[in-house]
């Protein structure tokens, strides 16, 4: 028995089995899902460095599955995070309706993502890609009534992306007669530049959609915010990484890394990569700005995800050893901290029933665990020491500086800085400040929800102090797959061409400083006074019942005013108007069916004569 089909079989079979058996009792469902996930996860884990290729012919297409170091890296991300989400949802979804559907689509999504990473040919890649799309679609529409618009938007955009990929992959097949990555990589440099460009564009349309590249990101905020919290975490944590994975596949696997020789290069970066990097940084900038003005916590996190994915995409676009390493590291990192944040916000929602930050506040005393998780999450997000975000950011800046990509570096820096704003907004409006009275009695979330959050927090700390295991795996993937010179590691010191950093030292110093300051603030300077919600200054305005003057309303008002111009031109609205226009155009077409039988008969005769005439001309 080959190991890869076994893993996929367990996963998909487990999903179906849990759905079917789950009809008996809800626990059976959860247990079956756990068993499936754990067994296949351990099987997967054991495949590090093993290349076990499985191939078969199905409906005349060759299908190849294998696990290589890159897929191992992504697979472990999927399994680990999937497990966390599953644990979390046992508590989160308890007593909710349609748990069967939830569990099923969660498992199918995880399984299909594993399928994507183990695929070594484009057809099975596409196959699992589509399964992932519909499985996640089922999740987006979980809250049926509100979710219709978001769901359809997600599905249709995904379909457009997927069909673009389909077109590209069959164009490749028509050219070289195979869909296997290896064969494509061997033949890629033989393609003409125009052909390559069209392939890249088509693939980027597909992957960019999932990786939420501007301007393909419009489905993200709606879909992320409307799906159940565990699934939002999965969406942002790993599902979006599939887009990143696809971009890596496109840029470094199926193209055989030949862009540098095929295209013009700028400062050592091939043109497609350079453009991709700009798209990435623009994504980061725009999304970050929009994130700042969001009031819905999940939407904020969604935009923040878009922004973070922008960095990752940029890093991959730059794509030498530092860039790739930082990209992959940031990807893992993003999975962890965005997972933490989504789960934590989900926990808040679980207890308070609202995602609106303006309705929350002062939860720090009621939900301390959650507060700490969010705190660690935003620290990682901001990329400041002592947590793992710092390492990724450091490598990213190093890569930019080393390539002397000044503008990119400046833009990245700007985006990172603006990101502080929404980080602060997130933690402040929810956990600090005054607490509305109705939340005075809420409790911390159940254990099953705390465990994954805490585990992820511990992981981000660990990676911050000691990123070398992860970097080893990344380096292994890079050397075996892309033939990129691995990034230099010496003991606990990271080296680039312009400098190095000893993570343990940096992290320890900053960590100790953090703890010290924390203690000082909580003991020596504890002079703050709790203020009631109603006890606020209204600056001359008479507070009426219609004006809710909670501090979190118009939180960054000056900033919002400043970026209003940007926000007005939404890509979403542009798509909507294009879609409406097209629909009206299509609607005209059906007027050909006039309803008069004689007209139809006339069509028949016209068609007949047309055939006669053209046939005679052609003979």
């Amino acid at each position: 028995m080959k190991i890869v089909p076994l893993i996929l079989g367990i996963l998909f079979g487990g999903a179906v089995l849990s759905y079917v058996l789950g009809k008996i009792h809800v626990y059976i469902k959860i247990i079956v899902s756990f068993i499936a996930l754990l067994t296949s996860g351990f099987l997967f884990l054991s495949q590090y460095g093993v290349t076990d290729t499985f191939s078969m012919n199905i409906a005349g297409f060759d299908v190849i599955w294998r696990i290589n170091p890159l897929s191992w890296l992504f697979g472990i991300m999927i399994f680990g995070f999937g497990l966390m989400v599953l644990i979390y949802s046992t508590a989160y979804m308890k007593g909710k309706e349609r748990i069967g559907l939830f569990c099923f689509s969660l498992c199918i999504t995880i399984a299909s993502m594993v399928g994507i990473v183990v695929s070594a040919d484009l057809l099975s890649f596409f196959f699992f890609w589509e399964i992932m799309t519909w499985a996640s679609f089922l999740m987006v529409i979980y809250y049926r009534y509100e979710a219709q618009k978001a769901g359809i938007k997600y599905f249709v955009m995904s379909a457009i992306g997927a069909y673009a990929m389909l077109l590209a992959l069959f164009m490749i097949q028509a050219e070289i007669g195979s869909l296997s990555f290896a064969v494509i990589a061997a033949n890629w440099s033989g393609f003409s530049i125009g052909f390559q460009t069209s392939l890249i564009l088509l693939f980027l349309l597909a992957f960019g959609l999932k990786a939420a590249m501007v301007p393909l990101h419009t489905w993200v905020p709606d879909a992320y915010s409307i799906s159940p919290a565990p699934f939002s975490a999965l969406f942002s944590g790993v599902l979006s990484k599939m887009g990143v994975f696809g971009i890596i596949i496109l840029f470094y696997v199926i193209s055989g890394g030949s862009f540098a020789t095929q295209f013009v290069t700028y400062k050592g970066v091939a043109l497609p990569g350079y453009l991709l990097a700009w798209v990435g940084v623009l994504t980061a900038l725009i999304a970050t700005i929009i994130a700042v003005v969001q009031d819905d916590a999940k939407k904020l996190l969604a935009y923040s995800s878009i922004g973070q994915l922008g960095y990752i995409v940029m890093a991959i676009g730059i794509g030498d050893s530092l860039g790739m390493t930082s990209g992959l590291f940031l990807a893992v990192n993003h999975t962890i901290f965005k997972g933490m944040l989504f789960l934590a916000i989900g926990a808040v929602f679980y207890r308070t029933g609202t995602k609106k930050m303006s309705e929350l506040g002062g939860l720090i005393t009621r939900m301390p665990y959650t507060f700490f998780v969010v705190l660690l999450g935003i620290i990682t997000l901001a990329g400041v020491p002592p947590l793992s975000g710092y390492v990724g950011k450091w490598m990213l800046y190093e890569a930019l500086i080393q390539k002397k990509l000044v503008f990119l570096a400046v833009a990245t820096f700007a985006a990172s800085t603006i990101a502080f704003l929404y980080c602060y907004r997130l933690i402040y409006t929810i956990f600090l400040g005054q607490r509305p009275e109705k939340f005075d009695t809420i409790k911390e979330v159940p254990l099953a929800m705390r465990i994954p959050m805490v585990l992820l927090s511990l992981l981000t700390m660990y990676l911050g102090f000691y990123p070398y295991h992860l970097l080893d795996v990344i380096a292994f993937a890079e050397t075996t797959l892309f033939g990129i010179e691995p990034f230099i590691l010496k003991d606990t010191v990271l080296f680039s061409q312009i400098g190095g950093v000893d993570t343990i030292t940096v992290m320890s110093i900053v960590g100790v400083a953090f703890v010290v300051i924390f203690i000082i603030f909580n003991t020596v300077y504890k002079r703050s006074r709790l203020v009631g919600l109603k006890d606020i200054h209204t600056s001359g305005e008479v507070p009426g019942p219609e004006i809710n003057l909670h501090f979190a309303i118009n939180f960054y008002q000056p900033f919002s005013r400043g970026v209003q111009g940007v926000l007005k031109r939404s890509a979403d609205r542009a798509y909507q108007s294009i879609a409406d226009g097209l629909e009206n155009l299509f609607d005209l077409m059906r007027y050909i069916y006039t309803g008069n039988g004689q007209t139809y008969a006339m069509y028949v005769i016209i068609f007949l004569v047309f055939l006669f005439v053209f046939g005679t001309i052609l003979i």
Binding site: Y591, Y593, T594, G595, G597, Q598, M602, I605
Partner: protein, 113 residues
């Protein structure tokens, strides 16, 4: 040759009726005109100058003296099929008239677009 022209004229006149006449019964009549035209055409195709009908009514008749029997068989079948279509069409016309109180085809277009 006359037969060809006659049958073709029937077909074309019938087609004109189907495409232009608004009355439902006229349309059905036109359809049966087309059919009649095709039947004449088929029989004319099977005809061979100076030969007799394909019936060996007397033993002296030789196969070489007979016209092609196959088109005749086909036309027989086709006539019956034509009758069936006509009958059904007329039934539907009666039904349509019951509901719409008109025989104008251009006024019976509730199903459209």
């Amino acid at each position: 040759m006359v037969y060809y022209i006659a049958s073709l004229s029937l077909i074309l006149i019938g087609l004109y009726g189907v495409l232009v006449k608004k009355n439902l019964i006229k349309i059905v009549l036109s359809l049966s005109l087309i059919n009649a035209g095709i039947h004449i055409l088929l029989i004319a195709i099977g005809y061979i100058d100076g030969r007799t009908a394909p019936i060996f009514s007397t033993p002296e008749l030789r196969p070489e003296q007979m016209v092609d029997p196959v088109p005749q068989a086909l036309v027989l079948t086709a006539i019956v099929i034509g009758l069936a279509i006509t009958a059904l069409a007329l039934t539907i016309v009666i039904r349509l008239y019951d509901h719409h109180k008109t025989l104008d085809v251009s006024k019976i277009r509730e199903l459209k677009w």
